[in-house]
């Protein structure tokens, strides 16, 4: 199995390895949202939110489309959902050493 760019892989995981960004993913999983909507949900400065979004877009996690005055973001990957369920099962298992998740 040939590795894709290791840096690109790492970038994807780094993009996901942050509570606020995971919260944004959670919000976007319910549908397309613009920056100010996201800002209201997660709090904090808009420039900070915009940076989070930019980072995730560069990693390939989300996509953006301009709609009038707003910039609308959406999840770029349908598999992200199963992905997160897998992570949750991992996270739940983390106490037991011998037990496997799936």
């Amino acid at each position: 199995m040939a590795l894709t760019e290791p840096k690109a892989r790492v970038a994807v995981f780094k993009a996901l390895a942050h509570p606020t960004r995971l919260e944004i993913i959670q919000i976007l999983s319910q549908g397309t949202r613009c920056v100010s909507e996201i800002e209201k949900s997660v709090g904090g400065d808009m420039s900070t939110v915009s940076k989070h979004l930019s980072l995730m877009r560069k990693a390939g996690l989300i996509g953006s489309k301009k709609g009038g005055l707003h910039m609308n973001y959406e999840i770029a990957c349908g598999c992200l959902d199963g992905f997160l369920r897998c992570v949750d099962s991992l996270a739940g298992n983390r106490v037991l050493d011998d037990q496997l998740c799936c």
Copy 2:
């Protein structure tokens, strides 16, 4: 969809967001390995490798079993593979904004 512990989720992604640790996952995907075997493959100090392994074990990504003098590590999750394939498709798509991955 109720969130599992957000911290636990973040921990999983942080554990994956490092080139050496991804390399270790790659190695372990081929079968169980002990610390010194991993050390030979990825280089660096053994204490460093041990810390990487410990971090991934706490996150739930890998499990460990003692076998005589060695500590054997193995992937704790069969879904990690499809997981990584999904990430690769994301990583490959990251230039195009409108195109979705899967």
